[in-house]
């Protein structure tokens, strides 16, 4: 089995450089959520040089929109959406400080290059295990774009989120390695 790392946010250059595609991660600490429209808005503000509603320096962003929380629960079910829809914005956000991205599915070359250049990391969360991941969320709060409903930017406190390194800072790509092993 590949390495299993127990990691606490914020992710740093050092932490990211120690991760390899295929490593298992249990991630704890504070992260933010954001997906399609939130990315579009953040990128537009960055392009205009305007202030962002959330600081991106050293942040880890989870491409996710949970189900509503039932009374008495911190959050509903939560899991990753497919990441390629954020590819157009991800390099810009990494340049602005994002260190970690959590999602599922392939990234394009521009994103993979930016991960190497910015010494960042792309972590895969499993799709379709959102009830299990819900139990790893200890606190959840909407911090921006509440008008987007489930797609608002939230701050989450997580404990031992089960993740896999997909793209590492050395250019490793688990998805490509997985397929090439078969050929």
């Amino acid at each position: 089995m590949e390495h299993t790392h127990t990691i606490h946010t914020p992710l740093t250059e050092d932490i990211c450089e120690g991760l390899r595609a295929g490593d298992r991660i249990l991630l704890s600490g504070s992260i933010i959520t954001g997906r399609d429209t939130a990315h579009k808005r953040l990128a537009a503000l960055l392009a205009d040089g305007k202030e962002l509603p959330v600081k991106l320096e050293g942040e880890t962003i989870f491409y996710a929109a949970p189900t509503p929380a039932r009374p008495g629960r911190v959050i509903g079910s939560i899991g990753p959406t497919t990441s390629y829809r954020m590819d157009a914005f991800a390099p810009l956000l990494m340049e602005a400080g994002i260190r970690g991205m959590i999602g599922k599915g392939k990234r394009n070359d521009a994103v993979r290059d930016a991960i190497v250049r910015c010494k960042a990391v792309y972590l895969g969360a499993m799709g379709g295990i959102a009830a299990l991941m819900s139990a790893c969320v200890k606190k959840a709060e909407v911090i921006a774009y509440a008008d987007l409903g489930p797609e608002a930017i939230m701050r989450l406190e997580i404990e031992e989120f089960p993740l896999i390194v997909i793209n590492d800072s050395k250019g490793g790509d688990l998805y490509e390695e997985a397929v090439s092993r078969r050929v």
Binding site: G79, K104, G127, L132, R182
Partner: protein, 283 residues
């Protein structure tokens, strides 16, 4: 000849509500047993790990009545209405929309439907997509399929050359799954609709996904063969559970077919993630 039977709209509302809450929290035995079987035969550690987590998640979702996936889907329904049914006390289509509305509100399911241009959320997960068919009899069969967006995005309809034949169709389907890679949350179920017009092929592909997972096409042995061979080729791609590598890229391929125009060969590939939610009720 059946006597006319009355079905009140209230009953339709309640049935639809119950179906969407149940399918979103309780994974069917067909899917569970397919995943258990795959977990036994998976040969990569990460692939096995992913399948174990999927099974663990299904248990938590059922025990805690939590949605299996945060994407609780676009509400797709197939409704077979007996020709001797008389719907009373309201509007049939509106009754279904109301059932969906209540399920997503009262079941704490995510509202995932929006205006295609402004992306403004409709707020109650309507409109549902309703496919109604008039059939003999005096009952109403409702099949509910909450359909996730990630796997739907990896689907398409094409017009192949009529000369493509079974081999051309198989190559096309395998190629679609290969290109989709990890994106649609493998292990997937691949629905294939062949023939008819372009929209008919899409409808057949969707309907193929409503079949119990792994149940072969029983109407045409050529299609059962196509399902088997296509699945074998897909699982030799190495994509594996969640794209982490392995032999379980798809759990099943389901094919449906109908005759088409002499100039055409419409084919739709509709991909379904491993959270293959479908349930039915007969009123």
């Amino acid at each position: 000849m059946n006597a006319i039977r009355e079905i009140p709209c209230d009953r339709i509302v309640d049935t639809v509500r119950e179906l969407f809450i149940r399918t979103n929290t309780d994974l069917g035995d067909d899917v569970l047993s397919a995943i258990r079987q795959a977990e036994q035969s998976e040969d990569t550690q990460l692939g096995k790990y992913a399948l174990e987590k999927i099974l663990e998640n299904a248990k938590i979702a059922k025990d805690d009545s939590l949605p299996l996936c945060q994407d609780t889907g676009l509400a797709v329904l197939f409704v077979e209405v007996g020709q001797d049914v008389h719907v009373t006390g309201g509007d049939f289509n509106e009754a279904i929309q109301e059932g969906v509305r209540r399920a997503y509100r009262e079941g704490f399911l995510r509202k995932s439907v929006c205006d295609p241009i402004t992306r403004a959320n409709t707020g109650d997960n309507t409109p549902a997509v309703i496919h109604t068919e008039i059939v003999p009899g005096n009952t109403m069969r409702i099949i509910a399929m909450p359909k996730g967006g990630g796997s739907e995005n990896m689907s398409n309809s094409v017009m192949l050359l009529p000369s493509a034949g079974l081999e051309g169709i198989r190559e096309h389907v395998v190629d679609m799954v290969k290109k989709a890679g990890p994106n649609p949350c493998p292990p997937t179920i691949v629905g294939v609709g062949i023939g008819g017009s372009i929209e008919k092929s899409a409808l057949l592909a969707k309907k193929a996904l409503a079949r119990p997972v792994g149940e072969p096409n029983r109407s045409d042995p050529r299609l059962a063969g196509l399902e088997r061979e296509t699945l074998q080729e897909i699982n030799a791609l190495g994509i594996g559970p969640q794209g982490y590598g392995g032999r379980t890229t798809s759990l099943a391929v389901h094919v449906e077919m109908t005759p088409c125009h002499i100039a055409s060969l419409p084919v739709t590939v509709n991909i379904q993630c491993h959270v293959a939610r479908h349930g039915e009720a007969v009123i």
